[in-house]
Symmetry: C2
Subunit: 351 residues, 2 copies
């Protein structure tokens, strides 16, 4: 293998200069070939490419980064919370999407889990020191100062769920309202009319949107929204249980439940069972996220699936476009995409 011979012969790694010498051209020309500049004749390009192959040359990233003041790396920041948040494969799916989008570029993915405030402070310095070309944020908290700091530093940034309806940064989201609409429409189509909702934490924008979708669908269908059928949760199983108990106490006549997460649906299911109700005969149940739990619940849980990997991919593509955009930060700031990807209803036995 040519590559390996290259290593062995020189002892160290071949440099640009050596490639240039071998190809009989100057450093600048080799650099142009490597960077795909059009200002190189075909013959020269070919000669350079041959020399690169023969020597097994691979550019030194550090040198490039230093000389060009780029880093060839983007960071994925995950505000790492308690140990068990990764119970759902959300994070892994995002990473999959991101790294798929990165596959044909030469960019590196830097993973940053920053739970504590101290760590986040470090990050600010870190990003400020120009150590990444762009930053991807996953599941951002509404009160996180980091994104705004990045904005000031003019570092391209994309977040994975807008923090509000007027998110200032570029963002990618799944259609939470649409997902809820799918679920509720499906229940209506099945003849259910007393459809309860267990919401997520309502300071999370996505949870608001899911609730909004629920409301809109019922209103549009002429069924009307009954506030006694709505109970807040916080995405946890325990909160699903509690919400279900409250709902049942208030509205024992309900015939369907739309929970804003599978985990809450699992809690609700337990309470429904204990109350002697059958699923879906007496009460239909729908969750959200299409997590692995959904498929293992008994009965299998109908759930709304978000295209998580696609979201990761889309975030990355938006980020890359922003990085590549030659206009000054002020101009780029003007047209920041707010992408919303459609959700899908996975119909199973529980509805």
């Amino acid at each position: 293998m040519a590559t390996r011979q290259g290593f062995a012969r020189s002892g160290g790694r071949p440099t640009l200069e050596e490639v240039a010498a071998r190809a009989g051209v100057g450093r600048g020309t080799v650099s142009r070939v490597i960077n795909g500049s059009p200002r190189v004749s075909d013959a020269t390009r070919e000669a350079v490419e041959r020399a690169i192959a023969e020597l097994g040359y691979v550019p030194n990233n550090a040198a490039r980064a230093l000389a060009a003041n780029r880093t060839e790396a983007i960071a994925l920041v995950i505000p790492e919370p308690g140990p068990r948040v990764f119970t759902e494969p959300y994070f892994a799916e995002i990473v999959r999407g991101v790294s798929a989008a990165l596959a044909d570029t030469s960019l590196q993915l830097l993973l940053t889990m920053a739970g504590s405030d101290r760590e986040r402070r470090g990050l600010a310095d870190y990003f400020g020191a120009h150590r990444v070309d762009g930053v991807l944020f996953v599941s951002l908290h509404a009160d996180d100062p980091l994104p705004d700091l990045l904005d000031q530093l003019a570092i391209p940034t994309v977040v994975s769920g807008p923090r509000s309806a007027d998110e200032p940064l570029a963002s990618v989201d799944s259609d939470n309202a649409g997902g809820a609409r799918l679920a509720v429409s499906h229940l209506l189509a099945r003849g259910r009319t007393k459809i309860a909702a267990i919401t997520g934490k309502l300071d999370v924008y996505g949870a608001q949107r899911r609730l909004a979708g629920y409301r809109e669908t019922l209103a549009d269908a002429g069924v009307g929204v009954d506030e006694t059928l709505i109970e807040p949760g916080d995405f946890s199983e325990e909160s699903g249980r509690l919400a279900m108990e409250a709902l049942l106490a208030r509205r024992p006549d309900l015939d369907a439940v739309f929970a804003a997460s599978d985990v809450m649906a699992a809690g609700a299911r337990q309470v429904l069972r204990e109350s002697g109700r059958r699923i879906p005969e007496d009460v239909a149940l729908i969750g959200y996220d299409d997590s692995p739990i959904a498929r293992h619940l008994d009965p299998q849980l109908t759930s709304v699936r978000q295209p998580i990997a696609e979201m990761g991919r889309a975030m990355t593509e938006i980020l890359l476009a922003d990085i590549a955009d030659p206009r000054p930060a002020a101009a780029r700031r003007l047209d920041r995409p707010q992408l919303v990807l459609p959700s899908e209803l996975m119909v199973r036995a529980s509805s």
Copy 2:
């Protein structure tokens, strides 16, 4: 905040040189302070540190890497397989452990998902080009050429599960045999004697060890190993189903099942239910991995928990120690740790 002022004033980021000027010392001295060299007087060190704080100086990684021929980064390589392998939070847990171990260092974590052969070839060049100081491998395939290549290149490497009993690279593993032993002992203690095993893919070393633990425990207890009670699976739910059917056909009298993964246990559970058997009254069931599914199965599944995050942490610590080891590669190669971390049995309703 001093840091922010620093940015604003200079327009660009402060450099070593500026810090040196401000502290009234030479570049070399500042460099020594930053790198914690002892050959600096206390007074000077203090003056330099003050200048650093005042300017909000953060070293430029690329420049350091270039000058020192280090990279300040380690790679975590995940042989990305099909879309759905991340169904279990294994990967996320490993990342948690790794990044926890990295938290007090200044090293960066580079995430590399390399599924296709083409990507892996790229990786070889990439690592060869000295772009990382060390590499962490997760769930390595037995026939992967990459680790050996890294070994030749003398790049420190740690793998997360040895590929065989005589793994040449440093490795960290959970005690698979011990985990199986816990499970089987527990079943024996509950009075079960006809304990079946559904194994994982036996070309995976961990699966072999789990089966070995099962065998040893039965042998030690004087119960004896009955080969008709052993059926191979491949870690998938479907294979769990098939294996359970085969076992039931052959040994309808079995009173317990130890499955080498929760997912297979879920498949087995379904078949047991369909056959009219009650869990755990008629047949006790134990899984492996303590995945989220375990807690959501009905009845909740007893399962063996591996300390995954701790494994990630341990891998990283071993890697860092290897990177820091000043001895030549040949010497380092001699004492490569093979760490085995204990597993734990999470007892739930199914056993």
